[in-house]
Symmetry: D4
């Protein structure tokens, strides 16, 4: 798939240093590892230097352990998201220095120590206290990727002065991640106050007509402020990943 | 249904000044008038002094004219909402002094001249220019009911300073009607800034995931600010009616 | 944010009794307290004299306790909504005179003793027995705010005479809160019988096509009776808060 | 399919008066007529004596004419529903005595003259004036089937006394068809007042959160009053058909 | 509310045998009993002779017991629906002869012994085995009301011959209740085979895009067969109640 | 992308008959043609011999003409779907022998003359007359692909005998395409009667709670009969394409 | 129902070897067995040789056992889907050689040993590891029907090279079943790569705006690649059944 | 609101060069202009140098002209989106050099001539020809902001080779905007191929179960590829605005 590798491979075929069948084989064996139940993809980590990520929900503990092992053997940094305490304890058996971030429900093994960009910050902002768990998924993700985070929590629009008091911090950020449930209006307000991209994360916090985050999601998609884009409900990880791509340049 | 009238009626029966059959008849003939296609209800107007209201959508011009005529004959103030230009022209034939508010799509005949409450104001606020039509339905309704209105238009949260510049006017209002489409975040923000009831009117302005006002509706129902209640999408009339009930005491 | 304080502050700057940096600082420190996971907002209580409110759902017991503590230290009246028995027991440790309203799921500490308005009543009406829990959230909220409540329970429209028997009480109320699940028709009927604002609270009571309160919510938003506004599904608190704003004038 | 015919047929085969191939053929040729684009089903009319019905929407004028012709040739009573003026004019060419009910959008050819049940009445009730078109589809259907109808229009719950004034007529009906848009609460209220089956017809009348009749539909399905069953939005015909089945016994 | 009683009452007032205040009082005291959390309505039972019904879901055991007690004291037949085993055991304490129908989740106390109509039958039909629980709610309801029921279970349209084998029984019924989950097609097919009213009950049986009964509900509302009306998802009781109204005449 | 071509290409590189840059270029130029607004893909036609297809909706007449021209120049068979009369007239200018199927809204240029499989038939079945337009899109598609079609129209389940009369034809088909709107029950019934794959096409025919085909779609997805798979609402083309893949083997 | 049997039966009647009453009886007793709660249908198995299938969800253990017993007594192959461990243990009591496939949640008794078609393969493809459970339901179903399966798991489009590496296996398959949750894009991509029918199975894997599989379902229904048809969310069984019909020819 | 201006203002108050009332006034008059129906916000343009933007839909021609005039008088660059030909002709009267991009429905007056970032590119990619109109809104927006755009149109996943042929161009982009209707799978696939942020724009192109773009929206929100964020359906402008914020740094 990768243009440079393809050219190199074709050159080897031309020179005769690679047979055609080997080349075909090679073309199919871009770096991923087949565990049967999973094809562990080492591809992206090689290209962009981000840690490898395991989405733990819906996988058995044994599956998570197997995937982790395959990654450890390559010396990768690893981030496990949506991990229960039980999954963490399974992973501990094969990765004794794994760390568990309970509020974020994240397992981190061997996080990146090199800063992604020393002068840039991601602000992670929540509307309420109950949104913190999703915000922490974002913050821990970014930190595992080597990125500095500024946490600004519980500044929902019902008490606007709480938000305005943080204006300096907001405006210093290279990207702002806004995490909000209920009506999710915070994304629009922050979007109007800063001149940097805002990534909005609706949360499933709320009740009744919040429909598990649908209300906040629609609010954010319809934001009257420009510069706001949206990820899935409760997807703190995805917001942080996108933010890190912007940071990295 | 009305307790005092029922007592009076029973008294007449007791005294013999009313026969039982007459009483039964009377009980059935609370003030409404049967036009076949409509039962014009003069009941509320008698009780609370508000004008009579015709919701024109889905009625033929002849039906609107017939209902208007029945009201005029009782000397009522009349408000016709959701009225097209064509309906207005029909009404003009029987009510030559009827006035048409084009942006609000309202017909007004003989509006209340007595102020509902001289010292109280309803602020009608919109997020955008496109919401003005719904806001005007609210404003014209209140004015027809004898109520002073303060229009504050195009102060959506994307440019928060525009809203904050109107803080004095907002805080002087006895009730605030917030009219907003797209993501409808304005209701929450205003709700956090004032200490009076906020009536939120979602509008069908927007596109895509606004789903004709559903996004704004959900936003407003989930408002993190207390003191916000909601009426139907585009229901400027309903918001003003409720506000006038609050004003009147 | 508050106009008078801003003017006072600017006056101090003008007189030199406040430095610019102090003023800037002051502007940012409108009364809220930062606990990290929460920014406790004492702002509204100062302005309108209502108790401080904690929405307990989605917060850990420690977070609720921490927020309660910050409020107690200011001598506030406190209302905790959506509180489980466990949360209450946690709060008891720091507020030994806290009271738990089990049906309402509310914790009350130091309720307002001064009446909000001695001559006005809020009627809280339910369609069925199963709606009582939400109604009690409304009633306890209002009572904690110092407001008298008239409870009228189980008067759904399927037995209209039960409702009509309460007509006197309904018509004496300054505001009527209608709490109904299933098809929620009670709001429209009450709206047609009284001449005061009706705040409709859809509940999640029902099954099948009630879709957890959606049916009642839509019914209430489409009410053919004027004067009805709506809050979120099961939001007894919000209805009472809005009602108290109307009562207070 | 019909048990008696099958027995008769088998008897003929047994006796040898019908060959097997003829019998097979017969079994396939229950009374319907194949026009290519339509298989006109004369089956039901034979069995229950109701007129034949053409749902005109989505059919070309030529198709409606073709189907009508096939029916006329059998001397059937015919009801065409959802028919535009244009379709009617097409039908007139082949059925000069066809009558058009404009409000109901129904074409009637040769209606039943025999009463379905002389002592029973169907009450057709509407909440508002705008619901009359759907109600007329129901009323014209029933009348074409030979059934007497009592029209009670514009008695929505916002003015309860208008409805209660018709209590006698409602209670005299053998079946009550309630036609209502907006929030559709009328079905529940009527259901609580009568002791006969109520067939509820939600209409698409309304705006915003009525979602083209969805709100009324959900209201009616969740009716807290027993004895209410529901047909599709705007399906006046279906309600009348079901009612006539009940009348007929 | 009742016309005859009102006339009688007025007569007494006329004759002086009833004072006005007594009459007013009387008008408010149509037969219901106020338990605070419930207003037990003895009204309908008096009028139509059906048992009194308690919908148990969402009520505490004590509330169900209290309501049952009030009914027992009037010697009523009682049907408790959606009752758990625990509720039944509570009821047993005050009604030792109460019977529990586990599959139907119904409690029956003192069922009607007089037949509603000796020559008429309600057929209760299910598409699958999993729909039986809802069907039993219908069947037990009808039997408690004194009505004979013919159960025809597991005759879904995927094996049409199973259904056709029951054609005789289907066609003998005065009303047919069709209970079906998944795609709910059975209602349309039965509707096409019989000439009596069909009451369709969608069930929440299914998975994925059945959306807890929504698919079956929509299918039934859109039935191409005439004579089908629909009740709420899983509402076996409602279907039987309506059917009994039809039976009773 | 194609394995054999890749091997051939690599062989040429190995032999030196192709330079690396040429090979890279080649790899990018699998057979499609870039018109700027469209990349005409000749790839599939080469592989499976099916005609090339243009989905005309949302394209300008000039765009359709441009794409058609590119295809004609390669001598392809062409099928244009969702084409208005206007589009057809545009295409006529460059393809004078193009044929327009009005009911199907299809343009056909140079249809396949060779039969796809001479002994296999696709049955295209509709529930009603109004579904014929979608069915014709399916039928014309199959015929343009060289496949014989058996049209069985207007055999909806409300008159089951009409369907059963066609049982022979249904059972002779290799694949059955069932086209139905409203409640879409026909797919389940046919699925239970035949032992071949059924492709169900929901149509947008219906009103009210059919929600433009959603009801039929859900019905078909939840079919209790096995062997039924579903395509998008009104997607007659897609059903026929899939059927032809099955036919072709 | 079956044409040939009907002919044979009629012949016997003609010859007098079967009485009319016997014939009628016979017509009603196509092979199914009535257990009261279930009518076990042996019809299909006789016709197409597929195993008999029990959908276990929503059935009691005793019901599943009863149905299994009826099938065992006829020597059928049996597949029980959606079976919990508990159900399996119940079945073991009457079928000691029953096998439980835990990931697929399937019970298999006496699977087909004869190959459905020795030269054809069904490829079962998943986007992720979490989709495997649904894929296994498909694979076990096909294998129980005597069909060879090629499992290709965890090849979602986020790492396209993982999918392309399996291109050979994909293209060798006679039918491809694509199992994917989250956004379900894999179906479209595979649909574009192969020239055989693709059966898409959306899964409920995902969170937030996946709405329990709705997102994947809509994706697959709207697939821009032709040749893709869709079954219900998580319906691995249905996909395999349809695939086997295609294989069998 | 702006920190620096506030400090400056306070300094002037301190020095006495500004009175308190003037300062208050100033605080309210951040740069916006009040036209009654609109408050033209010059704030953002001053801060980030982007053109001023008018969303024309729902505004009258006179309103658009009035707003344009206010902007022209400040010498601003202006972008009008969702503008019909009629609106453009109105604008021409006051801005004779205004340019209309018909496919994008954009009016541009005095576009930015200075490049936003000379070495960075935004790739705008569409799945189909019908998505081009939305893509052009994005492209014209970016170009009006001074940003270079690479258009890659009609590379949907059904013909994957068309997309892979553009891999070089995709990977050269600083940000990729993916515009797709129908099932919207392109966003996930592109997200897996590039290491830069992807902004996904669902379009309303499609039919049936695309539900006007809902299907594509859900697909994109659930993307299994990381680095994808989403804007509203058809919101080409919003995607380009966000992209430009990323470009600008």
């Amino acid at each position: 798939m990768d243009h440079d590798n393809l050219r190199k491979l074709l050159k080897q075929v031309q020179k005769g240093t690679s047979s055609i069948d080997d080349a075909l084989e090679e073309l199919k064996t871009l770096p991923f590892e087949d565990l049967g139940y999973a094809k562990v993809d080492h591809h992206r980590e090689i290209r962009n230097g981000f840690p490898e990520v395991i989405y733990c929900e819906g996988k058995t503990i044994d599956q998570v352990k197997g995937i982790t092992l395959a990654m450890i053997q390559r010396g990768s940094s690893i981030l496990g998201t949506r991990a229960s305490k039980d999954v963490y304890e399974g992973v501990l058996e094969i990765a004794p220095d794994a760390v568990y971030h309970a509020s974020a429900k994240c397992i981190v093994v061997n996080p990146k120590t090199q800063q992604l960009h020393p002068e840039r910050t991601i602000a992670v902002v929540t509307a309420g206290t109950s949104d913190i768990s999703v915000a922490e998924e974002a913050a821990v993700t970014a930190e595992t990727f080597g990125q500095k985070v500024d946490r600004i929590y519980d500044v929902g629009v019902a008490g606007l002065h709480r938000l305005l008091a943080q204006l300096d911090r907001l405006r210093k950020a290279h990207v702002v991640i806004v995490v909000a449930g209920m009506e999710g209006a915070l994304a629009s307000v922050v979007g109007g106050l800063v001149d940097r991209p805002v990534i909005a994360v609706p949360t499933s916090i709320g009740y009744g007509a919040s429909f598990n985050g649908l209300a906040a999601l629609l609010t954010m998609l319809n934001s009257c402020a420009s510069g706001v884009s949206v990820v899935n409900i409760d997807n703190g990880f995805g917001a942080a990943y996108t933010a890190c791509l912007m940071i990295k340049d």
